[in-house]
């Protein structure tokens, strides 16, 4: 994702040559030939749906019956309208909730002036800045939305229900995915409103149908990079310090000696004969 100007900063990654980047990617994949299969099945399903599923029609009305009566021929003919009109999503759309709306690029052509060329045109969404309240997270969120988002929130009867009911492909924003994951994680953990147990039980009952197990909720809304980082963090177990290992061994040995009855130096070791407080020691002093 191209980062907006207010978050951009220079990284050493910029100055690495393309060849080195390719080499690094190839080495990575030689180590791990099937990187996607290692993730849990529910993450794979969600990820592929988000990637390949067709979003609900926003900028066009789909043709319900692909046939039409043609009066010139006097017959019913097929209409070819299988290609949806899809918008473009700029990086700024990932910092707001546009509800599936985006920038549509196309042309306009005047029918009354056939000698004129077609003109390129962008159709932009109308954006507004609003404060949304999430009941589950108990947080107010200042976001940039479209009117369509607000209508969808009202249709779903609440911001949390909008996030939970809407498919990830229809959210069309990294912010929306992250919020969805956070809401699901909060519901799965069940630690909402720690000071108010009555409200806690009320809201958990309200969202009971949308609650999923905690291990699944932990993976919701992650990008492939984030999923990889999470997987690596789970796989990596930090090694125990040698100090602790040796201490364990020593304690075990001492315990063995104690069981065998060798803990006291009763077998006449030469150290037992040493008496630093004897006559000779006093004379030296």
């Amino acid at each position: 994702m191209r980062v907006p100007w207010w978050l951009r900063k220079a990284t050493p990654e910029q100055f690495i040559t393309i060849q080195r980047r390719v080499n690094r990617a190839l080495v990575h994949n030689l180590d791990d030939p099937q990187p996607f299969a290692k993730y849990p099945a529910h993450f794979q399903r969600r990820f592929m749906e988000r990637r390949h599923q067709e979003p609900v029609p926003v900028h066009y009305k789909p043709v319900e019956v692909p046939y039409e009566y043609d009066p010139e021929i006097g017959e019913i003919v097929r209409i070819e309208d299988t290609v949806p009109i899809l918008p473009m999503f700029p990086p700024e759309s990932h910092y707001g909730l546009w509800g599936g709306e985006g920038m549509v690029k196309g042309f306009i052509k005047r029918l009354d002036a056939p000698y004129m060329k077609k003109t390129a045109k962008w159709w932009y969404p109308k954006l507004s800045q609003v404060t949304l309240y999430s009941e589950v997270l108990d947080k107010y969120l200042l976001t940039i939305v479209t009117q369509r988002t607000l209508e969808l929130i009202e249709e779903a009867k609440g911001f949390d229900f909008y996030l939970l009911k809407t498919h990830e492909v229809d959210l069309q924003s990294r912010l929306g995915l992250r919020l969805k994951g956070e809401v699901l994680r909060k519901l799965a953990a069940g630690d909402l409103y720690p000071d108010d147990p009555e409200k806690n039980s009320k809201i958990r009952k309200k969202y009971k149908a949308w609650t999923i197990p905690e291990e699944e909720a932990a993976w919701v809304g992650l990008s492939l990079e984030q999923a990889e980082a999470k997987y690596n963090a789970e796989q990596y177990a930090p090694p125990a310090p040698l100090k602790e290992v040796f201490r364990e061994q020593l304690l075990l040995e001492l315990h063995k000696l104690k069981l065998e009855g060798h803990d006291k130096d009763s077998d006449g070791s030469w150290t037992t004969r040493l008496n630093p407080f004897g006559k000779r020691a006093a004379a030296n002093a």
Binding site: F36, Q53, V56, W123
Partner: protein, 296 residues
């Protein structure tokens, strides 16, 4: 191509290949389940192709989405309703909101009011079956206690309006007078509020006599009873006037001031006193330094 994309390119390609089978079954299943957000929205650009696409052979077509030409991207606008007014929305009130209704009532309010004030402030809720049950219970409880009900549907909003305005009472600057109810009634008539008779107006206990020049612009409260039930606190200011412009006192502002002087101690009731709300400035927002901004 961005940095992350090029780094993970081959990873993604393998992911595609691996999940081709997985995708096909799940797509059909999920499409049949999806029922949400299929209704058309009123505030988006809805476009249509100006020229029909060429017919293709259904049997021998490519499985991937077909390529489209530039002429297929010539669009005409079907709907563009950015400026269309939004219809009102029905809500369940959780607290008493004077201009809109009482707690537990189903009210129909403008959508912008609901979006900007009632819902974020927690004063109202979307209508749900549980909410309707609460509404019915509230109705039944109110039927048992008629003294708790408001006298009419608009009485509460009238109270809110009267408590909000500032009434200038025009009085003579030279001739002696004593403030009476009909003065208030005619002053109300000047701003377009009609009171049925003088009995609904209740003056302060202490009688007000004039004229004194120091009275000009001093405030006091009167009480107005609506339908013999609700009691509104109305803030008034004495406005001394004369015919000769040479003697005229400064013109008073009809906007409610932040601070006002009472005519006598205790002349202004507590309901009319200005609220001590702190004005929020853009600088009050928490400033997150750039290195602490968390990206996702």
């Amino acid at each position: 191509m961005s940095r992350e994309m090029s780094r993970k390119l081959s990873t993604h390609l393998l992911a595609w290949r691996h999940c081709a089978l997985l995708m096909r079954t799940d797509l059909i299943q999920s499409l049949s389940e999806r029922t949400f957000s299929l209704s058309s929205s009123q505030n988006t650009w809805i476009l249509k192709r100006q020229y029909q696409l060429k017919l293709i052979d259904l049997e021998h077509r490519h499985p991937v989405r077909r390529q489209i030409q530039m002429s297929d991207q010539v669009y005409e606008v079907v709907e563009c309703t950015h400026e269309k007014p939004t219809p009102p929305i029905q809500l369940l009130l959780l607290t008493d909101v004077p201009a809109y209704g009482k707690a537990g009532h189903l009210v129909t309010v403008p959508r912008n009011i609901a979006r900007m004030f009632l819902l974020p402030e927690g004063k109202a809720e979307y209508v749900t079956p549980e909410g309707i049950a609460v509404f019915e219970a509230k109705k039944r409880e109110e039927a048992l206690h008629p003294e708790l009900q408001s006298s009419s549907a608009t009485s509460l909003s009238t109270v809110a309006h009267l408590s909000d305005i500032l009434l200038l009472v025009p009085m003579n600057m030279h001739n002696p007078w004593k403030l009476e109810r009909w003065h208030i009634r005619s002053a109300l008539r000047l701003i377009g509020v009609w009171s049925p008779n003088d009995d609904v107006i209740e003056l302060p206990q202490q009688e007000i006599r004039g004229p004194h020049l120091e009275m000009h612009g001093k405030s006091f409260s009167v009480f107005i009873r609506i339908n013999g039930k609700e009691r509104a606190h109305l803030l008034c200011q004495i406005d001394l006037r004369c015919k000769d412009p040479a003697d005229a006192l400064p013109v008073l502002d009809t906007f409610k001031p932040d601070q006002f002087e009472p005519l006598f101690p205790g002349a202004v009731s507590d309901e009319n006193k200005p609220t001590t709300l702190k004005r929020r400035l853009p600088t009050d927002r928490p400033v997150v330094p750039r290195h602490q901004v968390v990206d996702f």
